[in-house]
Assembly symmetry: C2
Homo-oligomer: 254 residues x 2
């Protein structure tokens, strides 16, 4: 926060933060105070939430043995080496228990309610990210939490109707992080109606990505003809998507 | 942003913002410059995104006729009177088109990929919210966008694999907004494992909510015995949840 009011060339130093933030995957060997985590979580709870129901829970992992077990469920990604892992869950279980204890006919074990809780949990996750990063902490989302949601639920003793949807690693940065490119605004912003781009326009929108220096080596490294094939056939391939989808839908049982 | 470095009693003025933010449902009759919206969207795009795939799209609605049609799909909630509505979509369609144009075997029409895009879209939505509010704009999430996702998709010409998951109203505030209570931190933060609360503990966690002055009148107003029944049987009732769930799952066809 100390740099918040320094001269940075941006309209404000918070804009400077938003414009330059990077995910951090390597962390200093330094604990993050519990009081700091609690301060961040308290502030984050003021983020919008569906009907003020707060359809989320956060499990804080610091214990080294448990972290090891959790890391395995994240395919041991480097960011799991952080001092703190926050598993952020879509949670309609707590609210449902309250309703039932008050003789209310709660019916939240369905897909619509799941989407409400999912949205709530992600809003919270991003608010935590911003608050932590503004304090000089580094964070990284581990999207893998959804791949192994059933196993994560078992490890963290999550009851039914509590699904982990985001995991954030949190710690003091031991790297600068990598700057990544973004698509031009016109690729994803549509005026009044979703624009029907031609094939040429789609390829043009992804030109920056294909030509971004850090991306140039990936096709050859992965034995593929181009970057799109690296994404679709190596990083996020059909077999993996379809297998994990089946597993998740079976587990959620809407 | 002008207040960003003023003395507010908080550790920093951004903390002051995070601690006191409120959703805004009434807006001044004043346009929001396109350049301001674009500035916010550009900065928001630096938020984390799954594998840097940017699995989202935003449709900007300003046209008064279309706004009226969109408002109807949001059950004409007051916030739909805002000068700008941003419909934020989980979008794997654009990425899939790029992959296919590059002869890559893209398989993203499944539940796992949907959750990745959903998460991406919500992270973006919350980053937009924070950036807009830090600029003095008021915002409100319209969660109803998911209830009528198929109809919204038709209105905004969203192709298959583009699902609206958040709608934000944006404009200059014409009200202060309502301060809402939050559960105590221990209600939703769990240390190492999800805590198995007793019935008494659950009721204790919801005490603040039940006793919050603004909530006291709701049971009588709605002919219910308590606040939980207002939520479960009036605001978010079984028939509605189950009907919209069926509609959505049929439409998504995982």
């Amino acid at each position: 926060m100390e740099n918040l009011c320094a001269d940075s060339g941006f309209k404000s130093t918070t804009d400077g933060y938003f414009a330059t933030r990077r995910s951090i995957r390597k962390y200093a060997d330094k604990e993050v105070d519990t009081s700091l985590i609690e301060e961040i979580l308290s502030l984050a709870a003021k983020a919008p939430t569906c009907g003020n129901m707060q359809l989320y829970s956060v499990v804080v992992t610091r214990d080294s043995q448990r972290k090891k077990e959790l890391a395995a469920l994240h395919f041991n990604q480097p960011a799991t080496g952080a001092p703190v892992l926050l598993t952020i869950c879509a949670d309609f279980a707590r609210f449902t228990r309250w309703c039932r204890l008050r003789d209310a006919d709660a019916a939240y074990d369905n897909f619509l309610s799941f989407t409400s809780a999912f949205a709530d949990a992600m809003i919270l996750a991003q608010q935590i990210t911003t608050l932590a990063e503004l304090r000089g902490l580094g964070t990284c989302y581990l999207g893998t939490v959804i791949y192994n949601a059933p196993e994560t639920a078992r490890l963290l003793k999550l009851p039914r109707m509590v699904m982990p949807v985001a995991c954030l690693s949190v710690g003091y940065p031991a790297e600068e992080g990598v700057e990544t490119e973004r698509l031009p605004l016109r690729a994803w912003v549509h005026d009044e109606e979703y624009r029907a781009d031609s094939d040429e326009e789609i390829l043009d929108l992804y030109k920056t990505k294909e030509e971004y220096p850090a991306n140039l080596g990936y096709p050859a490294e992965n034995g593929k003809a181009n970057l799109a094939q690296v994404f679709a056939e190596v990083r996020y391939p059909r077999a993996m998507n379809e297998e994990f989808s089946r597993k998740l839908l079976e587990w959620l049982d809407f």
